[in-house]
């Protein structure tokens, strides 16, 4: 009997402190979207990173701004689509606005990152999958133009499924509109840093997300143009697991560096310093 008891004690020696369970609210088991590991929300830490594989859980734009900047002043917060004329579009917009407390799928403004000033855009995948509508495009184009006028670099965190279906051809035109503003910023000799986050797909990949001077990515972010299912149906092949993941895209030559989320701010700060971005006033 004694021996059996000892064995049991040994077995539980490495188990978590039972008291700790009281602190975890119900339903806070989370599953990593990349590796499938289950862990407690608290274990992800303030940066919401999977402890097993380093995948960064999807962030809302405000959360991202809080984690990546020292200061942030929002620009164009009131720009919104006022004429959503497609069946079901007004309802989808209302839902996205209520969920995110944003009026469009991107948050734009001026920030201080590690003591340097930059114009910053953060896309929010919770807002209609970060899709690119005319007003999303307007905020981005204005950000680049105002950054050009103020001689500021741009740091953009991409997160998008691509075009906004409900806006049809107008959505496609945003690729060109935003790229025109990127071109003007480029001609002014200013730095543009993209941070690809999960997911960055479709028209966003085929335009401003791939137009950066420097393209960074978070680990395991899904980055591509065509969707996986469409490709598999076209070529009648099953694609490997890491297909269109940041690591695979980097090996193909399209990503400068994959940076762990907790190190991103410092990493961007160094790039801003090397490119002599203006110091905080």
């Amino acid at each position: 009997m004694t021996q059996l008891f000892d064995n049991q004690a040994d077995k539980f020696k490495h188990a978590p402190n039972p008291d700790a369970f009281d602190k975890v609210p119900a339903g806070s088991w989370v599953t990593c979207a990349y590796c499938g590991a289950q862990q407690y929300q608290e274990e992800l830490g303030e940066y919401l990173v999977c402890g097993v594989c380093g995948y960064g859980f999807r962030l809302g734009a405000q959360q991202r701004v809080d984690l990546m900047t020292d200061k942030f002043e929002e620009w164009y917060a009131d720009v919104e689509m006022t004429t959503p004329d497609f069946p079901g579009y007004p309802e989808k917009l209302a839902k996205a606005r209520a969920m995110t407390n944003m009026k469009e799928a991107v948050m734009t403004g001026e920030a201080v990152i590690d003591g340097r000033r930059a114009a910053v855009a953060v896309m929010d995948a919770r807002f209609m999958m970060g899709s690119l509508g005319a007003k999303t495009g307007e905020k981005l184009a204005r950000l680049f133009d105002d950054a050009t006028a103020k001689h500021l670099p741009v740091v953009l965190f991409s997160a998008s499924g691509g075009a906004r279906m409900q806006e049809g051809i107008m959505s496609l035109m945003q690729l060109a509109k935003v790229s025109g503003a990127v071109a003007r910023h480029r001609e002014a000799g200013l730095l543009y840093v993209v941070v690809l986050t999960d997911p960055t797909m479709g028209g966003v990949t085929a335009s401003f997300a791939m137009e950066g001077d420097i393209i960074l990515s978070e680990p395991h972010a899904l980055v591509g143009f065509a969707g996986r299912r469409v490709i598999e149906q076209t070529i009648h092949e099953t694609l490997p697991k890491d297909f269109q993941r940041a690591e695979h895209m980097q090996a193909s030559g399209f990503i400068d560096a994959i940076v762990q989320r907790p190190e991103l701010q410092t990493y961007i700060g160094k790039l801003l310093r090397v490119h002599q971005a203006p110091l905080e006033a």
């Binding site: 497609f86 051809i169 945003q174 071109a183 003007r184 694609l239 193909s252």
Partner: protein
Amino acid sequence: MSELTPIEIARAAREDRFLARDLIANLVTDFQELHGDRAQGDDPAVIGGVGMLGDQPVTMIAINRGDEMAEKLQTRNGSPEASGYRKALRLMQQANKFNRPIITLINTPGAFPGKTAEEGGVGQAIAESIVQSMSFTVPMIAIIYGEGGSGGALALATANQVWMFEHSIYAMLSPEGFASIMFKDAKRAPEAAELLGLTPQELLAKNIVERVILEGDNRDLFYENLRRDLLRAIDELFQLGPEAIKVQRQMRFDKY
């Protein structure tokens, strides 16, 4: 103007009534085809080169769907790989250097959705084509002569003017793709075609394109008119001067 319904126009747009090589041969003389992206290959889905439009030297870049089955397979029915877009951009850069107008002829269901295209960075290739063409100082005119599908078409359509053949379409997605995403049913493509507003007339009304080209029955007359219209548009753009040509193109897209 065509009396067809949107889905009928979409079907007509896929009928290969015009082939890239025929269009080039009938519009320009002394055409010299130029090959390769200078990096890794020569995508047959994009053909390009230099020639004379009347007395005006031009660079022609066309998406090629091919004629016979073998060529259709090679061009993936006019779906370029990354290499095709890099070849197009190289020829555009060259045209810009020599102050030569660029005419693009577009007919594609979209960039090729394949493993090699993704690994070749087809998104990046399209992006670079779009952003660099925003800074060119030569006249650029894009003509959609069949399907204008998504970013794969836009890569060659960031021009000063975009024209469409009477039986052509331009959309962010095919009616079938749109129906399968929005209705989970590709068979509802006719409905999707209505919602997409992909016909030349609708796009003209929305200022997405500047001109609809009537196809008519007489091909000789058709080519003669098209050549004349192109020369006139190029001449008008040249009168603006290099910087204003660029600004006009940027403003054309700023308005969206």
